[in-house]
């Protein structure tokens, strides 16, 4: 069951009714059962992973809490982090390591009867593993108190709106909410429904429609010219934004209807004026997680190197982010490129600030527009490495974009619907960014404007949405 499946449209309203019919003190139990049902519905065996991670995390965080010795606390923290990361490493990298060893042996004329094993990555494993890792480190760092109710911790790990692709929430935000009494709140339900509506629009109308063109071009890149590849590459950031951003809004909206406030995952990323700002607006729950649990410890370790320590920490953090996306050279390069962008900005931070101050351009619309365009181009250019499938493919695609121009492949219906959707996304993000109090549709005081907007978006979803094969891009991570 996923958010775009028919089953979910039955499951969720039914759950919401049962949930609010139960006494408030028992509602977390209903949610826990529903979360396991939701995850088991994808594949029953996956529940073993969430259960194992919950049990291990519960045991070791209680030991951290009870221990008086600092080395022991640290040992318990490390043991749990390693233990719960093991399944993720196994499912994610075993196949790549195994085939790497086989290729190496064959290259050296050694035949070894090792079977090539391809494991399917349990959907969502990265996301709930990261949440459990974060909780363990937070307990060790005394950022939060240990959770003594194993049921509440199990709900944190398996909470169905977040279990498949995040947002990667923090225990200090979710655990107090799970422990508190939740009452039916009209404003929460309406706000949650609005988020879900916009999320479905992003996913079904924009992500899946642009995906048709992008897949047609990238999956057959040898037969397409550079102009088509350029159009597909420029559309790709919108596809990823509306796919994961749409998923996130549905997740946040679902949680809100049930009475929980979940962190926002995207903040109008295409209005960022630098790569640093872009990464503070894009996949926020992952980036803040990487900042807290990887970048900060690394930059602290390298602090004697001053700015170069920061550069090193940035490069390693984004390298890890790349390898997390996929154990392949194209994602390694993607990660390193992001690290280089941010390192160059860190090294030139003072020069840029002085330049902006000297020419008083920081508020100039032309300068802001140009900075936004450059940031977008840098990001879309780097995404080619992720989408190409391999490093050699990426090189061919870049070569074609730079040298092989001609009449582009035009799937007019797909492109027209895509651009209509992108225009609406940009219009909403633009007005939210620069005129938040002047242009309001979903939040308008006039009932007819509000309901007119809901109906228009619903109409667009039904008319232009793609309702077949809706897979979310981040399920593979």
């Amino acid at each position: 069951m996923t958010f775009t499946s028919f089953n979910f449209l039955i499951f969720f309203p039914l759950l919401a009714v049962i949930y609010y019919l139960f006494p408030a003190r028992l509602r977390w139990i209903v949610l826990l059962i529903a979360s396991y049902f939701f995850y088991i519905n994808i594949k029953p065996v996956y529940a073993l992973l969430t259960t194992g991670i919950t049990l291990s995390t519960y045991l070791f965080t209680r030991l951290i809490d009870k221990s008086d010795s600092e080395p022991r606390k640290k040992a318990f923290m490390i043991i749990n982090v390693v233990l719960i990361l093991l399944p993720l490493f196994f499912f994610k990298y075993f196949g790549a390591i195994n085939s790497g060893v086989l290729t190496f042996l064959e290259d050296h004329n050694l035949r070894w009867p090792l079977p090539e094993i391809k494991l399917l990555l349990p959907v969502g494993i990265s996301f709930y593993t990261f949440m459990a890792v974060g909780y363990t480190i937070d307990v060790y760092n005394e950022e939060i108190k240990v959770e003594k109710n194993i049921g509440i911790l199990a709900l944190f790990v398996s909470f169905f709106p977040l279990v498949l692709s995040g947002p990667i929430e923090r225990a200090k935000n979710m655990l107090p909410q799970f422990r508190s009494r939740v009452d039916l709140n009209y404003a929460n339900v309406i706000y949650g429904l609005k988020l879900m509506l916009w999320g479905y629009f992003m996913k079904l109308v924009v992500a899946d429609r642009t995906g048709i063109y992008i897949d047609a071009v990238f999956n057959n890149f040898l037969n397409h010219n550079g102009t088509s590849l350029l159009i597909a590459s420029l559309l790709r950031p919108f596809q990823v934004y509306t796919d994961l951003g749409g998923y996130s809004l549905i997740a946040i909206g679902t949680a809100r209807i049930l009475g929980f406030k979940v962190m926002c995952n995207f903040n109008r990323p295409f209005f960022a004026t630098s790569m640093g700002e872009f990464w503070r607006r894009w996949h926020i729950s992952l980036i803040t997680w990487l900042t807290d649990y990887i970048y900060t410890p690394l930059s602290f370790t390298f602090r004697k190197l001053r700015i170069w320590g920061i550069v090193l920490a940035l490069l390693i953090t984004f390298l890890i982010s790349g390898i997390w996306h996929e154990a392949s050279w194209n994602y390694v390069v993607w990660g390193i490129i992001q690290g280089i962008f941010l390192s160059l900005e860190a090294l030139n931070h003072k020069t840029r600030a002085a330049f902006e101050k000297k020419y008083a351009i920081i508020k100039s619309p032309v300068f802001i527009f140009l900075s936004i365009v450059v940031t977008y181009l840098l990001f879309s250019g780097s995404l080619i490495f992720g989408r190409a499938g391999s490093l050699s493919n990426a090189v061919v695609i870049y070569h074609k974009i730079l040298t092989n121009h001609g009449t582009p492949y035009l799937d007019l219906t797909t492109l027209a619907y895509s651009f209509l959707g992108i225009f609406l996304i940009l219009f909403k993000d633009f007005t939210d960014e620069y005129y938040p109090d002047k242009v309001k549709l979903f939040e308008n005081k006039r009932v007819w404007v509000r309901y007119g907007s809901y109906l228009l978006i619903l109409f667009i979803i039904l008319l232009f949405g793609v309702f077949e094969g809706n897979k979310f891009i981040y399920f593979q991570f």
Binding site: N141, S299, F300, G309, I310, A313, A353
Partner: protein, 79 residues
Amino acid sequence: MEKTEVTEKLTLILRKVLNNDSLVLRDDMTASDVDNWDSLSHMIIINDIETVFSIKFKLKDLNKMRNVGNMIEIIISKL
């Protein structure tokens, strides 16, 4: 070392790293209140504090630095 002396030395460090000669510290001030005090400059500030005060932080200490007041308390506790 008195709190005022620690605050004076800390002000000099922050003014130099953040390139802001008019910066005046308050106990309730956080990084988000000050221009250029981001995750990049923060670690340079931490390193300079360690050098100037001849102290050594633990990673756990960083998580407890919610504002300038906390930062000063932690520095004093290490002196």
